[in-house]
Symmetry: C2
Subunit: 210 residues, 2 copies
DNA sequence: GACTATTGTAGACGCTGGAAACATTAGCAC
DNA sequence: GTGCTAATGTTTCCAGCGTCTACAATAGTC
């Protein structure tokens, strides 16, 4: 009996291609991502991917969706593990976002850059993160009703928090802090302190962090 | 006499190529940026650009540097025009940053994405924004000494503010707010209110905005 | 076991980034 | 001016890319 790799039909080529694509992004960077290289790593001909993805855009968008799926899962899990306090839950979910972004930079970059896509693919791309912010707005409203989050327009608050977190992980992932790190700060210091600054601003003043 | 465009020697091909590159980014997006297309628009052969840029990375990096130059100029100008109050100056400079990013999305994207570069080009890329944050830290220190900015580690404060601003303009430029805009908010509303949230948090409490 | 849809391959096209060899011109010494 | 040289632009060529079309192998179904 032949090994699975030598069979004419791969078995689950789609998943193998997505995994290979992520590997390419990690090792060769976005510029090195080509359908042909991905096919090579999966051990199939350079046109085989077209049986699973209409074009390069669709392959990339599938990686993006898988990334959001994965991030969503870890955020939900961390939120559930944070105990009963709504503010703690909210913060845990935010920490999970940051941790995902910093420990899976290739995923995060492709999820939010869009530069890899053609102008056509960009339209589908814009909707990939809309679910995330809507859930955040819901969480904030809940926290405000329970009196643990500062009052104010929840949409604007969510946008501000998301902006800060997204900006921070983008800056770190693009290595733009290399000239800061090492002298007075380690990356871990910076990460913790910035997160504290963000979430300190969230609670109602009477409940300020100890 | 021939028109300038028909001469064998272009005159200032380097600048023409940079301008063409920006045009391509605006019209065709990052994926459409090719040396050959840029050369075509400048009316030269597809290898002429190699007399001015060693490779595609260098062309892109030149656009990036030109973008930072331009942004820097408008920020300095706005800061100077803001009057004597250091907090107002600081805010004016921040507003200029946001306005530049939102009115020159192609510039801003290429300045901060890096996805267009090969892994080699990324190293040079990481240093392009270091000057900006250092100047911001200096400004914050000054504001603190004069008692108009909240106390705290200026590096962490600068990083947090920069994160929020960078994240915000990135989110807006990537059209990720399309599902928010239109119902309750216009983009202008959002922009103004988010900026107010950011800079409200900066002043010392006694000087809070009226 | 034959039929058909699914999934893979082979080869071609025009595009790309880039190297090499060549052509034209500007600037300068005289 | 004439001639030399460096700078700048062109031509030609190559391999790699995304994607199309035609073909081959297999899996599932009757």
């Amino acid at each position: 009996m032949k090994s699975a790799k030598e069979k004419y039909h791969h078995g689950d080529l789609r998943a193998a291609l997505l995994e290979a694509a992520l590997g390419v992004l990690n090792e060769l960077g976005p510029r090195g991502l080509s359908i042909r290289e991905v096919a090579r790593r999966a051990g199939v001909s350079h046109t085989a991917p077209y049986r699973h993805f209409a074009d390069k855009d669709e392959l990339i968008l599938a990686v993006v969706e898988q990334g959001f799926e994965l991030m969503q899962q870890t955020m939900v899990a961390e939120q559930a593990a944070a105990g009963p306090d709504p503010l703690a839950q909210f913060a845990a979910s935010g920490f999970a976002y940051v941790n995902f972004a910093l420990s899976h930079p290739a995923y995060y970059r492709v999820m939010f850059s869009g530069d890899l896509l053609s102008s056509k693919g960009h339209i589908a791309f814009q909707h990939t993160s809309s679910r995330a912010i809507r859930e955040m707005v819901t969480d904030i409203k809940l926290g405000q009703e329970q009196g643990v989050l500062r009052a104010g327009d929840p949409v604007l608050q969510a946008l501000t928090i998301w902006s800060t977190i997204h900006g921070f992980v983008s800056i770190v992932n693009d290595n733009r802090l290399s000239h800061l790190v090492g002298e007075d700060f380690s990356l871990d210091d910076i990460r913790v302190q910035v997160l504290v600054m963000i979430f300190d601003g969230l609670g109602v003043p009477e409940r300020a962090h100890k």
